[in-house]
Assembly symmetry: C2
Homo-oligomer: 337 residues x 2
């Protein structure tokens, strides 16, 4: 079996660590693993398949001989180094927002639009976490009934911000319980026992970039510009797993029962929908899962053809690292690398 030199850029971050774990779990055909990070984190040691590796500084020359580079070190690093990696012959799967909307760059969720990988030119974008889990559920419903419009409100975990945000939530929660003063550092305001309707920067429309990502990436991944999405994205005091309240309007009628049947057969989706028996997806219990969980499936009685859905997934795995590794697997299986 062919094996590959795999670089993980941002290897010490929340997503990077999860990428390494998933490459290991899934026995990805790794020849050499190359953990890279900023000069600040270089020198740290990480484990991979029972062997210790030193984290090296991410710089252009580090990509010599690399076959696949998984990037998750922020937009600026991707903008600078992803082209350098591609120049040196690596296929880059980039988790940042740097290239997602470039027409030349496939934006892929393997369960939704794997065929877009065929046209890659060395650079592939991993979508935003909150978009990935939504489109995995929307795709089979779109194929059946054509989705016209989506109104989504998110409940996003702090792990999406990074390890330092997980620590901030822990620290602040303790401080609130003990009646101490709080000094927010990672977020602009207290996150413990609070909600921040603020993810990423705001533009002149009043929308945040996170909201625009859901609008634009959904159209591109689903390959249908006619799907209208409006989003409100909110950070909640949950450690991991994003949740979404999603309202859709379709061209054709789907009952809740039919939606459950369709979603039960959909790749990567688990229907968890028996509210009378207190069964619905909850973020605290779905960390470590690679599927997208959907429940609270109900007809929306305010429109002729509408549904409400509650969608939860592990944003670090399903919304980032697992998606990137699945893309790499697809490239390998289909000789696209």
């Amino acid at each position: 079996m062919k094996t590959y030199n795999v670089a993980v850029v941002g290897a010490t971050g929340a997503v990077g660590r999860t990428m390494l774990k998933i490459l290991e779990e899934r026995n990805f055909p790794v020849k050499e693993i190359l953990p890279l990070a900023s000069s600040r984190s270089a020198g740290h040691r990480i484990e991979f398949s029972g062997k210790a590796y030193e984290v090296k500084e991410a710089k252009p020359s580090a990509f010599e001989g690399v076959d696949i580079a998984l990037f998750s070190a922020g937009k600026d690093i991707s903008l600078t180094l992803a082209p350098e990696a591609v120049k040196r012959g690596a296929v880059v799967i980039d988790n940042s927002n740097a290239f997602r909307m470039e027409p030349d760059v496939p934006l892929v969720v393997p369960e939704v639009n794997p065929y877009d990988l065929k046209r890659h030119k060395g650079l592939i974008a991993n979508p935003n976490c909150s978009t990935i889990q939504m489109v995995i559920v929307l795709k089979p419903l779109h194929e059946r009934a054509k989705i016209k419009r989506v109104v989504v409100s998110t409940y996003q975990a702090v792990s999406g911000t990074g390890l330092e945000a997980i620590e901030e939530l822990k620290l602040q929660a303790k401080q609130v319980l003990e009646g101490m003063n709080i000094k927010p550092e990672v977020y602009p305001h207290q996150i413990a026992f609070n909600l921040l309707p603020h993810i990423d920067a705001f533009d002149e429309t009043g929308y945040s970039l996170e909201e625009w990502k859901m609008v634009r990436e959904t159209k591109k991944i689903m390959g249908d510009d006619s799907i209208a999405v409006t989003a409100t994205t909110v950070r909640v005091p949950v450690f991991n797993c994003h949740s979404e309240s999603v309202n859709i309007e379709t061209c054709e009628k789907i009952t809740a029962d039919e939606a459950r049947a369709i979603l039960s057969r959909a790749p990567g989706v688990v229907v968890m929908d028996d509210p009378k028996n207190k069964i619905y997806p909850m973020p605290a219990f779905l960390s470590g899962k690679d599927e997208v969980f959907v429940g609270r499936i109900r007809e929306d009685f305010t429109v002729p053809c509408g549904l409400n859905l509650w969608i939860v997934a592990d944003n670090l795995r399903r919304g980032a690292a697992y998606n990137a590794v699945k893309i790499a697997e697809y490239l390998v299986e289909h000789n696209l690398i």
Copy 2:
């Protein structure tokens, strides 16, 4: 000035305590205060205007001589005792779900439909907390542009469940931080660092009663059955103040700027909307306020006439106790008692 004998039923609960506090703060013309509760809580002492009162058992005879009875002790107590209080000449303002949809019973938010109080027959219903804060914001927009449809997702604080839920969140948060096991008692699942898309019981449609309350009460309070509402209600690990992500479609176009101008003039509403400067309503900072706070006001570009709104209010005060006391004040001012 005329003064009144005021009973507070459920005086030891989260809403009852807040009712007593607000009656005191607002110098409501109280002749005698009569704190009532279940036999379990009878004998407790509460303070009102610097004087200690013994909590008496809520039973029919307790309402002899009472002018105004504020009920907040759950649906069953209201069903049993509210008619007994009315029979004895009291005007009842009931915070439970027992009578809200009775055609004979006015369901009132004083800033929205005070005129409905004129037709009361001794029993007035206080709407559901999550509905109150929404309709206060929607009413002025409805008057300007006629709202056709509302899609709302809520982020509801544990105080809505009661004092025991506040304690459960505190305890569980501590237990999670210390790596201890959790045994949910008030909620069916862990609430600390988690989300429960489950408020009140579910019916055969898959909707919860809390969701139906928002659908039905909005139409009744706004006096317009044509307003279509669909809701997803979610409990979040926040101590107090409910938050709501609200999407509306209107018949006529309102820009975000015009919406801000309208809402700035609306009674009981505070516009808090400068996201670039990190200004938006957040539940952790709005406890103790009587206004409804609205921010993240944006045009919804997926429909010809639509807006997204983020609405936060103190559910114990604005969503319950303050609303009830405002109703009582209106009755007094307009000789409706």
